[in-house]
């Protein structure tokens, strides 16, 4: 699907959606956006998003701190901001490790408690 074999994009995900249910290619592409947008909205609203057997996302508040321009050495304030944290589930880590070591990737766990 992609021209770059090292990277997959939304286009590849919508292709996977297209293969899964009877949606058109256009609807599949739209639905990928709809899902990512729903997750984004929850995060912007301050919710934690836990996707079992994948991982969890949460927004964290960072206080203001003094940074430094690495080129000039000049001190600049880094303003307080919200950053996103992603915590991979055990299942995700195990499946990636297996794949990267050339082993068969085990199926996703079906337990809900693994975030």
């Amino acid at each position: 699907m992609t021209t770059d074999p090292t990277t997959i994009t939304r286009a590849d995900l919508s292709e996977a959606v297209y293969a899964e249910v009877g949606l058109s290619r256009h609807e599949s592409a739209q639905f990928v956006d709809v899902i990512l947008d729903e997750i984004s909205k929850a995060l912007v609203a301050g919710e934690q998003v836990k996707l079992s057997s994948f991982g969890s996302f949460s927004a964290r508040h960072k206080k203001q701190r003094v940074g430094r321009n690495p080129k000039t050495g000049e001190e600049v304030p880094i303003l307080p901001r919200r950053v996103l944290m992603f915590r991979a589930s055990h299942t995700l880590k195990e499946r990636i490790s297996a794949g990267m070591k050339g082993l068969p990737v085990p199926p996703a766990s079906t337990t809900e408690d693994d975030e």
Binding site: I35, I96, G99, A108
Partner: protein, 95 residues
């Protein structure tokens, strides 16, 4: 929000789709991301963020309690970098 809540919210907004199909779609997406990462591919979702895999070399660690040296095998860790648009949205800036 859990995965089941995500599916519920999506099905409320998309009454023309069966909830079980939405569940299959959500699962297909995260399964595709996982399998790509397991092949060592990067997953770039413009505006949302990018997932990649980082290698942690094998090292000699130490049991912090006993001080005993333990071999830690090389590891592959998934990593997420927030996309610019989402980062801006988190900080109250419209895209």
């Amino acid at each position: 929000m859990t995965k089941s809540e995500l599916i519920l919210r999506l099905s409320e907004k998309n009454p023309h789709l069966f909830q079980r199909d939405i569940e299959r779609i959500v699962n297909a997406i995260f399964e595709s991301i996982t399998l790509a990462l397991a092949r060592g591919q990067r997953v770039e979702l413009r505006g949302f963020g990018a997932f990649s895999v980082k290698k942690r070399d094998a090292r000699t660690g130490r049991n912090p309690r006993t001080g005993e040296a333990v071999e830690v095998a090389e590891k592959f860790i998934p990593f997420f970098k927030t996309g610019k648009q989402l980062r801006d949205r988190l900080n109250g800036e419209e895209q």
